[in-house]
């Protein structure tokens, strides 16, 4: 499932995938795959992304139970 919260927050701050990737120390491809829902990041990487975007884990990565993928 696509992580639109991450994508919208990044666009809201006018940060490109490349810039966010540099801030958190990963490749642009990794950010792209997280936004596309094709890669599940570790909690450590989630925290780095949240810090870089000035939000909490809940804001970007929390899903209500009915939306949760099996």
């Amino acid at each position: 499932m696509r992580n639109l919260k991450l994508k919208f927050r990044r666009i809201e701050l006018d940060i490109s995938q490349t810039d966010l990737a540099k801030k958190v120390g990963v490749t642009r491809q990794t950010i792209g795959l997280i936004e596309a829902g094709e890669f599940n990041p570790s909690i450590r990487l989630c925290r780095k992304i949240c810090r870089a975007l000035g939000v909490t884990l809940n804001d970007l990565f929390w899903e209500e139970e009915e939306n949760e993928e099996e």
């Binding site: 994508k7 995938q17 490749t27 642009r28 491809q29 596309a36 099996e70």
Partner: protein, 156 residues
């Protein structure tokens, strides 16, 4: 996570580690087995080694192509000409030594042994360096493609 997977996330990661170790044990084990059969036992008949060679080459080509397609080089070895020269020299030294042992066992002449080892090492060095340089260029090109910022419409 795929459906019908009986493993939880931790077990899945553990299984990947086990498979990773198994892959490298098979890779180096096959290479050592081929070297030992050729040098120590003097088995130079390709027909008796063909099975191991085919499996080894399939494994090596799969690893190389899969990494290049995903723009992955190595965890620790930097992607530059100096590394390629060092790795080629190591491969040349290893194969030169192997050929020297094999040839000396059969003819017992130092001059022939040295010439054979030198030729084998030179050819290995040249081929390894060419292959590594080509792989490095392909990988660098793939990394550039993957790192290109997509438009918002087709972002991934």
């Amino acid at each position: 996570m795929r459906k019908n997977n009986a493993l939880d996330e931790m077990q899945e990661l553990e299984l990947l580690k086990i498979e990773h170790n198994g892959c490298w044990i098979a890779f180096w084990g096959l290479l050592i087995a081929l070297a030992v059969q050729s040098a120590a036992f003097g088995n130079t008949d390709f027909r008796t080694l063909a099975g191991e060679w085919v499996v080894f080459m399939v494994l090596a080509v799969y690893l190389a192509v899969a990494c290049m397609r995903r723009g992955i080089w190595d965890r620790r070895i930097p992607m530059n000409t100096r590394s390629n020269l060092t790795l080629s020299a190591a491969a040349a030294a290893a194969l030169g030594g192997l050929i020297a042992i094999t040839v000396f066992r059969s003819c017992r002449k130092l001059s022939v042994t040295a010439a054979a080892a030198l030729i084998a090492a030179s050819v290995t060095f040249g081929l390894c360096f060419a292959a590594l340089t080509l792989a490095m260029k392909k990988t660098a090109k793939r990394i550039r493609q993957l790192e290109e910022e997509p438009s918002d419409a087709d972002e991934r």
